[in-house]
Each structure stands twice: as structure tokens, then as C-alpha cells.
Amino acid sequence: MNRGPFIFLGVFIILSLTWALVINKPIQESGHLSPIFDAEQGGRLPMNAKGGAAQGKLVYQEFGCIACHTQQVRVSSGFDLQRGWGERQSVARDYIDQTPALIGNTRLGPDLSNVGQRRSDREWHLLHFYNPQITSKGSNMPSMPFLFETREIVGEPTNRALKLSAEYAVADGYEVIPSRKAEALVAYMKSLKVTYDLKEAPKSNDVMLEELTAALENAK
């Protein structure tokens, strides 16, 4: 092993082969999925995100929400279904429209794959972003006051203003208005829901067991 080229070559061969095995092969096999058209479930699956939500995804990315929140549901381990974070396993086809896909690998907060289904109230999300203590006392999520503007009420109060309880109210004569970014982020949160079924996505261990039993019965 006294020669540089020998080491270079050896390392090159190993890295190429392992890359081909764990990166390239899975992508060749199942990294070119196309959407499914299912009239019963409302057309194209997965459904396309709307414009406002796409803006909100950028905000989500900008503030690094991915550092604490995942967007993937597992059925074969953990208690994701029991927690109400989803109804079925997240599969590759769910993410085909997402670049970047904000899947994440740390859960300091809840999974957000289906947050739009759990929380569909715009006001709740706005209050939550303004100060998480209002809606979730004791949370360690950072508040994001910079997504809101506290301004003097001129004439009538705006109906977009946050309805703050006495404890969190701002000074008299002032109101808190969500910025465009805050509204976009809420639109993104509300768009996060997996409401359709995919054939390849296991629902839960019980359902899989039922399906297997049924298949066995048929075989007999």
C-alpha cells in the first residue's frame, strides 16, 4: 500500500459500488414513481398543493421548522396512529411532488404529516405561531412575533387581527396583524393532510392482519 494511485483506486471502487447499491439502485427501482388517477378519491393522487401553501412551505423551510418536526407516519413501530398523527404509513408516492421533501428526522414536536386534518382552524395556528404558550402551555416551540405586526388601531379594528386573551393582550389601542408570511405558513399547515389511500400503503398492523387472513381464506 505504498502507492497513492492504489489507494485512490481502491477507495474509488468501494465508494462507487456502495453508492450504486444504497443510493442508485433504490432510486432506479422505485424513485421514478408517477401519480395515480383515481376518480373515486378525487382524481390525481397525491393531490397538488395550492399556491398559498407553496409559499408557506418556503417559510417553513426558511425558519428551519424541520429541525423539530417530521412529516412521516410509521405503522410498523411506534404509536403514530394511536397519537392521531395519521391513518396509514407514509410511502414514497406521497412525496413525489415535493422538492425539497421536508421529511425530517427529529421529533422535538409532533409529526406534521396530517396537521391540517387535526387543526383546521386558522386562528389557532396564528395564535400558535404568535406565541405557542397561548395554545399549548408549556411547549418549547419558539414564538415567532416577527411574523406579526403590532400596530396602532386607526379607526375600526381590522378583522384580521389576532383575538388575544387578557393575559397576552397588547397595549390598548394596538392590534396584532399577521404578516403575509404568517398567513402563508398557516395555509401550508392546513394543506398538510393525507386524505387518500394508496394501495401500497399499509394502514395498521390490525388491518394488515385482516387482509392477510382474508387472502389466506381465499387461497384455501
Partner: protein, 474 residues
């Protein structure tokens, strides 16, 4: 090779090397500060909440990226250049061009940090720097790599030592993984879920194929140098070398367990992680065997002490990595702060301590000055060791507990946060101690750099080398 030749060699690389270490110690301080801020935010979320440039989601990636591309890359490269020059036995040319390349690299890190603060971050682990910094990193790294390859070719001592192999691996692999990751994530992104796979593969390889090899290179060199013995079981180095590269380059896929990609990919990753047991055992026997056979000497030398702490951290890190990849433990620790804890132990504890130890060997020789204060070195060592222990308890044992709650129960997330508060506090205390150590290191470094040489230092060669140890094995 006599001391005179050594001094000529050292002089040829003094300029770029000092600037590399300057960058390294500054980034070490910056990274630790950001790590501390991120950690404080976990138990006191109101800390700096008004500042939109310092949200947790921004501070956390800044911490990791400055830690890796700022501190450890500069420090590791500094050690590598020194080893290439010394082991090659010839003064190196074109030091200025190396310095220009490293300055560009560090500028890219600065731009990246500002970019993250302004909100341009990418959502991929350890690749959060905005996409516009990628070409700068790539070009400067290409320059650095070519320079090092030339330095290796120019050697007069034809037979090579393990340190040199590891340096070559680090340089070549990083060019490979960085370009592959950038292409598959930014230029022509892989489809949805597979971006997560590429990202996990990259992050694991940054440790396994860039940072760890540079640290191995330093350890193989410093053991004979500081202890006066050749590495125990050196003839098994080849096995450890090739098996490490093979298994480490696949291990990242293990993170994909239960995720939205084909199941077999994660299984291959788990097997590979388990395969790392082979090189880890070899390294442990070599490094610990050597260090323990001269145990009394360890406490005489600053370098050997840091080296010892680094080796112990390395073994702990690998045990946690291998344990954490097993199916049963994956189901507990997935998505918890366990991984972050193991990675921090790997970066601060293993690589950080080894590079620091190496710098305490290199700097006095480079500058021909003594370490200004052994108290400061002791303080740094104590603070770092204690800090690492607190960090490990807070994040690793805390992470296991957190994982049990997240993955093994339906406990409310607010309850989990409440339960974890103690662990987060412990982590902050650990990082405060690391910060104290980093300050002591900075003071030592700049004191040494700025002080004028004493009469003794100016007139004589301080360091009496044993030249026969320069080529310990071949």
C-alpha cells in the same frame, strides 16, 4: 532526518498552517456559542425569541455547519498538511496557494452562516448552507485536494504510513460525497422521499469518510510521537482501513428504518453499521493498547492526554452507533435527540479532542515557542472532559428516555417536553463547559501566537525530536 531539516519543512508550511489553525480556533468558539444558544432555546424558548435571525431552526444548523466545516475541517486539514509535510520528509512548495484556497473555503462558511440567518437554508442535514455556497466550497476544496495530492506525490520517503492513507481517503471521499449529494439534492433532485436517503447517506459519510479519517491520521501519527512506541498491532491497519471505508460508506442508510423508502435499503445500512464492529475493534486494540501500555506517560504530555480522551470518545461513539442501529433500539431512539448526542460526542469528543491534541503537538514546533500556560491547557482539558460527560448524559441518556416516551407510549408531546427539561439543562451546562474550554484554547493559541519569543526560544531549538520515530512503520 535531523532537526534542521524538520525546521525547514515546518517553515515551508508555517504560513498556511497558522492561518488554518487561526480559522479553526475561531470557528470552534463560534460553533460552541451557537450550540449553547440552540441548547438554551430548548429549555427556555423565550431566549432571544424576538430575533428572527436566531430561531432554533436557524441556530441549530449554523451550529452543526460551523462545527464541521468551520472548526473540524480547518483543524483536520491543518493536521493533515503537517503530517503530509513531515511524513513526506520534504519542504512543500506553493504554501500561498493552499492558503488562498482555505481562505476561500472559510469565506464560503461565513457566507453560508449569513445565508442561513437570512433564511436561505436547505432542509438537508449538514448541507444546510444555501445552494449558492456550493460552487465556492467545491472549487476551494478541489484546490485544497489537489494541493495535498501534489504534496503527497512530492514526498522523498517513498514508503507510506497509515496517516497518509487516511488523509488521501478523506480528501478523495469528500470530493465524491459532496458532489454526489449536491447533484442529487440540488441540481437534479432525486424524487421526494429519496432526497432523505441521499441526505442521510451524506451526513453519515461526512463523519465516516471525512472527519473520522482525518482524526485517524492524527492518531496514527501522534501515538508514536508522544509515547515513543510504534502503534500496537500496526500490521492489522490494512484490515481496519478497508473495512472501515466499506462499512462506513453504507452505514447512513440505517437511518431509513420504517421510512417511506424500500425496506431492504435500511436493512443493508443496519448490517453495514454492525460491520463497523470489525474496524472499531481493530482501532480500539491499536489505539487503546498503545495508550495503555504507556499510561503513566499520558499525563506528562498535553497531546497524549487529549488523544486519550479522543480515543475513549471514539469507542463510546461507535458502541452507541452500533447499538442504536439494532432493530430493537431503533424502535426506541428513532427521531429522538439520541442521534444528535452521538454526533456531538463524535464531533466534540472524538475529532475535536484528537485535533486539539494534535495542535498542541504541532504549534510549539511550528512556532518554536513553548505552550504559554499549562494551567490553561489543564483547564481546557478538564472543562472539555466534564462537558462531554454532561453532554453525553443529557443527550444520549436523555434521548433514550425521550425515545421511550415518543415511540413507546402515547404520552402527550407537552408531557415529553416537560420530562426532557432536565436533560436539556444538563446539555446546556455541558456546552457551557465546552465553551469555557474553547475560550481557554483560544487564549492559549493567541497568546502563543502573539507573544515574542523568549531568549531561550529564540536562540535554541526547543524541541528535541527523535528522528528515528518519524517513520515508525512502513
Amino acid at each position: 532526518m535531523n532537526r534542521g531539516t524538520q525546521r525547514t519543512i515546518d517553515a515551508s508550511i508555517r504560513f498556511p498552517l497558522v492561518s488554518l489553525f487561526k480559522a479553526a480556533v475561531c470557528w470552534m468558539l463560534i460553533a460552541t456559542v451557537f450550540g449553547l444558544i440552540a441548547s438554551i432555546k430548548l429549555h427556555t424558548p423565550s431566549f432571544m425569541e424576538e430575533c428572527q435571525y436566531m430561531t432554533y431552526g436557524k441556530v441549530e444548523p449554523i451550529f452543526w455547519n460551523t462545527l464541521i466545516y468551520g472548526w473540524l475541517f480547518n483543524a483536520g486539514l491543518g493536521c493533515a498538511v503537517f503530517l503530509l509535510a513531515r511524513l513526506g520528509g520534504v519542504p512543500l512548495k506553493q504554501g500561498v496557494s493552499l492558503m488562498i484556497m482555505t481562505v476561500i473555503w472559510n469565506l464560503a462558511v461565513v457566507i453560508g452562516v449569513i445565508g442561513i440567518m437570512l433564511g436561505d437554508q436547505l432542509p438537508y442535514e449538514w448541507l444546510e448552507f444555501p445552494s449558492y455556497t456550493a460552487p465556492i466550497f467545491f472549487v476551494s476544496f478541489l484546490g485544497i485536494g489537489l494541493w495535498c495530492a501534489m504534496a503527497f506525490r512530492a514526498r522523498v520517503q517513498r514508503s507510506t504510513y497509515a496517516s497518509q492513507w487516511w488523509i488521501l481517503v478523506a480528501l478523495f471521499s469528500f470530493a465524491w460525497i459532496y458532489s454526489a449529494a449536491q447533484i442529487m439534492l440540488v441540481c437534479s433532485p432525486a424524487q421526494g422521499a429519496f432526497q432523505n436517503l441521499v441526505s442521510a447517506w451524506y451526513a453519515e459519510n461526512v463523519f465516516g469518510l471525512l472527519i473520522a479519517p482525518l482524526a485517524f491520521a492524527s492518531i496514527y501519527y501522534l501515538i508514536p510521537k508522544t509515547l515513543g512506541i510504534s502503534v500496537v498491532g500496526y500490521r492489522y491497519t490494512g484490515i481496519a482501513f478497508w473495512s472501515w471505508i466499506l462499512f462506513a460508506s453504507v452505514a447512513g442508510a440505517a437511518k431509513m428504518v420504517n421510512g417511506p423508502i424500500p425496506v431492504w435499503v435500511a436493512s443493508v445500512g443496519v448490517i453495514a453499521t454492525f460491520g463497523l464492529l470489525l474496524p472499531t475493534t481493530t482501532f480500539s486494540i491499536q489505539f487503546l493498547g498503545s495508550l495503555l501500555s504507556r499510561f503513566s506517560k499520558i499525563w506528562d504530555s498535553a497531546s497524549a492526554r487529549f488523544l486519550f480522551a479522543g480515543v475513549v470518545s471514539f469507542i463510546a461513539v461507535m458502541m452507541f452507533k452500533i447499538w442504536g442501529a439494532l432493530r430493537g433500539s431503533q424502535e426506541v431512539v428513532q427521531f429522538s435527540i439520541f442521534d444528535s448526542g452521538v454526533n456531538q460526542l463524535a464531533m466534540f469528543g472524538f475529532a475535536g479532542m484528537v485535533f486539539t491534541g494534535a495542535s498542541y503537538f504541532i504549534l510549539p514546533r511550528l512556532l518554536n515557542k513553548e505552550l504559554p500556560s499549562s494551567t490553561l491547557v489543564d483547564l481546557q482539558f478538564g472543562a472539555h472532559v466534564l462537558g462531554l460527560i454532561l453532554l453525553a448524559i443529557g443527550l444520549i441518556s436523555g434521548g433514550i428516555h425521550q425515545g421511550e416516551l415518543i415511540n413507546g407510549s402515547t404520552a402527550d408531546m407537552l408531557t415529553v417536553v416537560n420530562t426532557m427539561r432536565g436533560s436539556y439543562f444538563l446539555t446546556s451546562m455541558g456546552l457551557s463547559l465546552l465553551l469555557l474550554g474553547a475560550i481557554a484554547y483560544n487564549v492559549t493559541f493567541f497568546w502563543m501566537l502573539l507573544s515574542t519569543r523568549s531568549e531561550k526560544e529564540a536562540s535554541t531549538s526547543l524541541i528535541e525530536e527523535a528522528p528515528e520515530l518519524e517513520y515508525t512503520a512502513s
